[in-house]
Symmetry: D2
């Protein structure tokens, strides 16, 4: 994936970026015969194509352990809203990913999940100068039918940019 | 913007898409001397470059009136999560946009806003076959210091896919 | 139930109120052999003791139809927080009741529910002079495993005091 | 305050409880000339009447430090909903109190706050046999205009019964 550098030049022509992604059916098929944790570790290792949404927003799955998942993102101009900073939807996409995967990392083979809700509290603006942001999802409660995860989005020096919660329904099992 | 058609072919090479967007500084400068409603109408009319995030996720600002804003999106493979449907972050991006802009549409010149939170309830999966989805944000309460908006995400035949709420802080004024 | 009138007199002795309620086991037993709607209608008709929490906060179940339930409350000094108005927990109790019962009103015999979450947006203060408030819960989505309800809290002349959402898990069925 | 013991006897007469509380104007006046922390410490010390809502639901303010407040409650029959356990509104009242007071504990003299929202995730039922529950509110973010608190509700042996979040608007200052 390549990105035109933001120039701040109001006369600049349209900027462009090429997004490439793999077939999501291949990724989804990789869940078969693996626990949630094994599937996510396979993604971290690059042995399966990352889900297309990650390419679209330019995020990376950084690490996975049981009940805790970390994504990172380098803020770029293509994340911007019309009021001069990274759009709230980017925060939400990172948090939804991290919290959903944290729940998935606790599930045995053949057990799936679906997110029932996503709640985000915005605590600080993200701009190009913010640098790399880290989004961590952790499981707070794992029940038989539902799970609750929470998430944080922080700068490299630990400043809190947002928090989130997500309830998931556990399927199968 | 061009998009490779999803093929369902697990042997297919990486798919790609070129995203183009305009300078967000030009868009932001367009707020000067305009009410929130006038600014958003200028975006609908295509007289200012759309915010980069809209190009990134492939959404369009469809219509604006005082207190009500509509976005649309055609689901595509590049929106997919690893579990075979459109990622929750896409729902969240649409809802955050529609609810934030609905609040902005009520603000006079020189008055800004920032979103304090975003809450999304996921009610139905979106897949390629779902077809175009419509996201509507409406203002529920406009106070002196804060505003509350709610949003819906529906199919073309009115099936409810998600609902949202967002509280905004009103700045300046 | 009797209530000492608030006097505004800072020298007044402690105020007191007697709360009386019926055995909740009797109320719960009344669900047997009734749909959710029939059970709630029996409560409205006064043929079963109201749940203790309603006596505790002085609220009344006013009306029930399929998918919509209304509670009322007359604000009193015993609802007050330390900052001079009705405590947010009273709003939350009304909204949780109205939204939960709205979901229950859609359930057949032998099918129960439990609330997964409650979210309240506070839009206006309630004080003694506000007069009777009305809390309405309505079902937005009824799925096979979960349901979503929303609620409003308003004054007698329709001013919006709060909104709420609640997701419920459907049990049995 | 006295409480009739629940008997489980379906033939029992109505149960009753006398609730006594102090004048909330006296309590509110105690904020004058005190920081938020000093005011709350005065309440813990019993030097001001507790807010009426605490008497109504039978909760106690247990401890206060800067950014962290703890309430306790002994579950009783008068907290029950019609489905055989403590009503969600009681959870919400405890969490709203603990999170609001945690924010207040960080505020200087003459600076007030109001809760914008309350969100509760219900993780476990509370019944008479659950024994005393502890509700802790902590400040996650303190900005110039808004603050964010989170809360937990737990049993004496640390089982998580609910979590909450609340955004507050800071007034004056």
């Amino acid at each position: 994936m390549t990105t035109t550098e933001p120039t701040g030049d109001t006369q600049a022509p349209a900027r462009s970026r090429v997004v490439e992604w793999g077939d999501p059916i291949v990724t989804a098929a990789g869940m078969s015969g693996r626990t949630g944790l094994e599937f996510l570790q396979t993604l971290v290792a690059g042995e399966l194509p990352p889900p297309p949404i990650l390419a679209t927003i330019g995020a990376a799955l950084e690490s996975v352990e049981a009940g805790k998942v970390v994504f990172t993102l380098d803020p770029a101009e293509y994340h911007y809203n019309p009021i001069g900073s990274v759009h709230g939807g980017v925060y939400a996409t990172l948090l939804d990913s991290a919290m959903g995967c944290a729940v998935q990392s606790m599930l045995p083979e053949q057990v799936g999940y679906t997110s029932l809700d996503l709640s985000v509290k915005f605590l600080g603006a993200i701009r190009l100068g913010t640098g790399r942001v880290t989004c961590t999802g952790t499981v707070v409660h794992l029940g038989r039918r539902t799970a609750l995860a929470e998430g944080t989005l922080t700068t490299q020096d630990g400043k809190l940019l947002a928090t989130g919660t997500s309830s998931c329904l556990i399927l199968g099992g």
